[in-house]
């Protein structure tokens, strides 16, 4: 296994506020890793440091993610761009010809359930569709690593489960490396092969769990395997005194 990213003892503080106190993290090629932690614990700060958007105060990071397909919190679709224009933006910035990038978007639209919505503006779409556009955009960066910050956090429970199942299926086909942040235990179980648990602020690593589930077990939220994996994470969190 080749590590695409290794972070050791990353620290960060804003003034008097300690945000990260020695976080270590490894990301292997083609694996899906969840960063699970309570709200406001510094997960987003960690992502931003790994993406090169913010400097760390200490620690060592090998293999930066600054060329990653990033889906920031809230999706951040451009309100003045249509679905098509939003999705093709990374290609446009890379200087890809118009016809070529339109073809690239068109090819993916059915898999993302967006056929017929090319000319819609984001505010005309449902929350789930907006996140699919944001994900398509992240994918079309062409970067082998996807970095998602609470991709489905703003969605209702039913839509969230559907989106998780859809993404799990998509990831199975794409063979990309993915690092995502969540505060939702079930989201971690549904999607991740490995879960890194973070403590409350200042964030440190509480522990790590490998989730060994078959694809069918990941979508069955009442199945024994799913529940066992979720409870395993939950007990780890409680042992950590969170």
């Amino acid at each position: 296994m080749t590590a695409v990213l290794t972070a050791r003892n990353v620290t960060k503080r804003y003034g008097d506020l300690d945000v990260l106190c020695g976080v270590s993290l490894r990301l292997e090629e083609r694996e899906t890793v969840a960063l699970l932690g309570p709200s406001g614990c510094g997960k987003t700060t960690l992502l931003r440091i790994l993406l090169g958007l913010e400097p760390a105060d200490g620690g060592e990071i090998v293999g930066r993610l600054d060329r990653a397909g990033y889906l920031p919190q809230g999706g951040l679709l451009f309100p003045w761009k249509t679905v098509l224009e939003n999705a093709e933006l990374p290609l446009q910035i890379r200087g890809v010809e118009r016809a070529e990038r339109r073809a690239a978007v068109a090819e993916q639209l059915p898999a993302f359930g967006l056929t017929g919505f090319e000319a819609s503006y984001p505010h005309e779409l449902s929350g789930g569709m907006q996140q699919r556009v944001a994900l398509l955009r992240a994918l079309l960066t062409g970067c082998p690593i996807l970095v998602l910050d609470e991709p489905f956090g703003a969605l209702d429970v039913l839509t969230r489960h559907r989106m998780q199942d859809w993404l799990a299926e998509l990831l199975g086909r794409l063979e990309r490396t993915m690092l995502f942040v969540t505060h939702d235990l079930e989201e971690a179980v549904a999607l991740a092969e490995r879960v890194v648990l973070l403590t409350d602020r200042p964030a440190g690593v509480l522990g790590e769990r490998t989730i060994r589930l078959e694809p069918s077990e990941r979508t069955d939220r009442f199945g024994n395997a799913f529940v066992a994996a979720r409870d395993g994470l939950l007990s780890l969190i409680h042992q950590g005194g969170l």
Binding site: L51, P72, F78, W80, I93, Y121
Partner: protein, 263 residues
């Protein structure tokens, strides 16, 4: 269920345009009535009818003066828009430049136009150039400040996202700052549009051979108040038309806002 004698009439009354027109019509009627009832002489206060007659009698000459004013206004407004957006962009790109430019921008607004305009005419002559510069001077501030503050209000998270796409600064302005700020720029342009015609009139008033301001001074000096009012009416119509033109440009340029209202 409430019943209306005339539901169609009620609905018409609820339309803003209908209310606008009715309110203006009432104003004109009141004005006409006051002049007629009190027998006010035309050189003191011409009636609306006399004002319209004065425009009709002098139509050819008015058209020549009005077209000069329109050209000056559009040129000055155009310069203010181009220069204003460019300066706002430069201020946004460089904090040093912003700190150096901003005080001048704010203080320039404190300069009384009526005092500085004659100097602009002395410096740049009695031709169209000085009028264009007066227009640009009054329009520059709302455009620049609205654009700059619009740039500043953009959520930096979007800029960071573009950074992860490998965007250069020009991409950031093209895909983010300019479209995000467009509604603000248009709001500034609307304010500027209403100022611009007045700027041209002030410039012409102070000296020159052509333009509605020149026409007004001549009408005033010969006690032709009806012609003065006729010219004022035309200035009002010009301002309104320009305001509406900016509105229409905004409608075309911001389709994403248009559909929001429908949704």
């Amino acid at each position: 269920m409430k019943s209306h004698a005339s539901p169609a009439g009620v609905r018409l009354w609820q339309r803003p345009t209908a209310r606008w027109l009715l309110s203006l019509l009432l104003f004109v009627l009141l004005w006409q009535a006051i002049v007629s009832i009190f027998g006010i002489p035309g050189y003191l206060l011409p009636s609306p009818v006399a004002t319209v007659e004065a425009i009709a009698d002098d139509a050819t000459l008015l058209a020549r003066h009005a077209s000069a004013t329109i050209v000056e206004t559009l040129a000055g407004l155009g310069i203010a828009l181009g220069l204003g957006i460019a300066v706002a962009l430069a201020m946004h790109r460089s904090r040093t430049l912003r700190d150096l430019v901003y005080p001048h921008l704010v203080l320039s607004q404190a300069v009384p136009l009526i005092a500085i305009a004659p100097m602009i005419l002395i410096w740049f002559g009695l031709g169209a150039l000085s009028k264009i510069l007066v227009v640009a001077f009054v329009c520059f501030f709302p455009v620049t400040v609205n654009t700059y503050e619009g740039f500043r209000a953009v959520d930096p998270a979007y800029a960071e996202l573009l950074e992860t796409f490998g965007a250069r600064w020009i991409d950031r302005y093209r895909h983010l700052y300019l479209p995000a700020t467009l509604p603000g720029i248009l709001a500034g342009a609307k304010i500027a549009a209403t100022y611009s015609v007045l700027g041209a009139i002030v410039g012409e008033w102070l000296g020159g051979s052509v333009g509605l301001g020149v026409y007004m001074t001549r009408a005033q000096q010969s006690f032709r108040t009806d012609r003065l009012f006729g010219a004022i009416l035309i200035v009002m119509l010009l301002s309104f038309a320009l305001f509406k033109a900016v509105d229409a440009a905004g409608f075309v340029l911001t389709p994403w806002l248009r559909r929001r209202h429908r949704a």
